[in-house]
């Protein structure tokens, strides 16, 4: 379980996150939504241990999150890979570097789950579609069976149909593998459809944290209603009269 309590992060003199407290149980999904500059990416950096909290604690089962080796799926799938290497080499690099023993057939099983043909991994990132590159990014993140996976806008580079397909594959793999997922997204539709809980960040603070379905139907604050209504006005959430 990921536990964050009273987290404050400063960048220089500026407070970018303040008074952040929540728990993410094992196997569950927390979607963090908010506008640009709300502090979503800072939160990811703090959980990864790349930014030191000025106050408060981040822990995985009581130990530093670093011990859990959380994995990260990045926003720009092609930029997330070394353009001069094949996908296979990029994907295996962390496994080789950390001397991790993979279960027999692990790579093949994940590839099947992500609908990635094995021979596609012999290509470089510019030789596959963006959707395939993002699925390879997810493959790399999941290969070493991390208990916690952070997704930073994992779908925003994909088209609408590919987004829903990729989201489905992530959800199916999560059900199989049991990792906890923290998904940072500006797309409230995705957050509601695939999050167990939703946390809305606004100017570095948690505006509201709630069960996903409850949130969509009945956002509590004015700001959260604005976000929900924008998602409806953009067709991300359909409205049934």
């Amino acid at each position: 379980m990921l536990t964050i309590s009273e987290l404050m992060v400063k960048r220089g003199p500026r407070v970018t996150l303040a008074d952040i407290s929540f728990t993410l149980p094992a196997g569950k999904t927390l979607a963090v939504v908010g506008e640009s500059g709300a502090g979503k990416s800072t939160l990811i950096a703090a959980i990864l241990g790349l930014l030191k909290p000025s106050f408060g604690e981040i822990a995985w089962n009581g130990a530093p999150t670093r011990d859990a080796s959380p994995a990260l799926v990045m926003q720009e799938p092609r930029a997330a890979f070394n353009p001069t290497m094949t996908l296979h080499r990029s994907i295996m690099e962390p496994v080789v570097a950390q001397n991790i023993n993979l279960a027999v057939g692990r790579l093949e099983r994940l590839c099947a789950g992500l609908e990635l043909p094995l021979d596609l991994l012999d290509r470089r990132p510019d030789q596959v579609s963006i959707g395939q590159a993002q699925r390879a990014g997810i493959l790399r993140a999941l290969l070493a069976s991390p208990p916690l996976v952070l997704f930073d806008e994992p779908l925003s580079a994909l088209d609408a149909v590919t987004q829903k397909h990729t989201a489905r594959l992530i959800a199916d793999l999560q059900a199989e593998e049991g990792f906890s997922a923290l998904i940072v997204t500006h797309d409230l539709g995705y957050a509601v459809a695939h999050g167990d809980q939703i946390a809305v960040l606004n100017a570095g603070r948690i505006e509201e944290i709630a069960d996903a379905q409850d949130f969509a139907l009945n956002p509590q604050s004015e700001y959260c209603r604005t976000l929900r209504d924008a998602a409806i006005a953009l067709g991300a959430l359909g409205a049934v009269a």
Partner: protein, 227 residues
């Protein structure tokens, strides 16, 4: 006046990136060109704009990101002046105040460079520039994808309000049928560089015939809310 293009096509390095496509657009009509990444929707948009301009129609183009439309080294006033000049207008002849009010950017400081404005305001400034001189057609290529949802929703709403009562037709190019469905009367569905299906928005949503239209229609929302 109806805008007509016949047999538009395009090739790149010997590969056909747009198969022959013909199209009529009525004044005030709002059309959505939808399709997956790489389906040829932007190519059709560009070919359409080029052909109509060659026929002598005035067509304004709003790119995906305001970065593509605005020079970071020039002030907003300079961009506005340049847009007026391009249409052969004198300085100050365009109804800047009216357009700025309608798009809610009247508070923007024109002496500043683009990065002195928020992205949402930059995008609405680009839309205001596009609407100088009441063009026959305004073509918008993924106009909301570089914006936050709240800003994007407001931009689409304001754009819709500005176009109401004008003769300007609109072409909205997007991968997102959910967005298009709320804003256009007619949909053109692209797949593999071809226009594979077209029809009234409701018909395509309810009775999509091709596989491409079915996929778009089935995945247009993340979920439906009873509200």
């Amino acid at each position: 006046m109806t805008l007509t293009v016949t047999g538009l096509s395009a090739t790149r390095s010997g590969r056909t990136i747009l198969h022959p496509t013909s199209l009529d657009i009525n004044p005030r009509e709002r059309i959505g060109i939808v399709g997956a990444s790489g389906s040829g929707k932007s190519t059709l948009g560009h070919a359409l704009i080029d052909d109509l301009r060659q026929q002598g129609h005035s067509v304004a183009h709003v790119p995906q990101s305001p970065d593509e439309a605005l020079d970071p080294l020039r002030s907003m006033a300079f961009h506005w002046r340049e847009a007026e000049e391009a249409l052969g207008l004198h300085a100050g002849q365009a109804d800047r105040d009216g357009l700025f009010r309608a798009l809610k950017i009247e508070g923007g400081d024109l002496r500043k460079r683009p990065w002195g404005w928020s992205r949402g305001m930059q995008q609405r400034f680009v839309i205001a520039m596009a609407l100088i001189g009441a063009p026959d057609l305004i073509a918008l290529d993924e106009p909301t994808s570089a914006l936050d949802p709240v800003v994007a929703a407001a931009t689409m709403e304001l754009l819709s309000g500005v176009l109401d009562g004008k003769n300007t037709a609109m072409v909205l190019i997007t991968h997102d049928l959910g967005l298009a469905a709320l804003r256009v009367d007619r949909l053109l569905v692209m797949e593999a560089a071809r226009l594979v299906e077209q029809g009234a928005t409701e018909d395509i949503l309810e009775r999509p015939e091709t596989q491409a239209a079915q996929a778009l229609s089935a995945h247009r929302n993340w979920m439906a809310l009873p509200c």
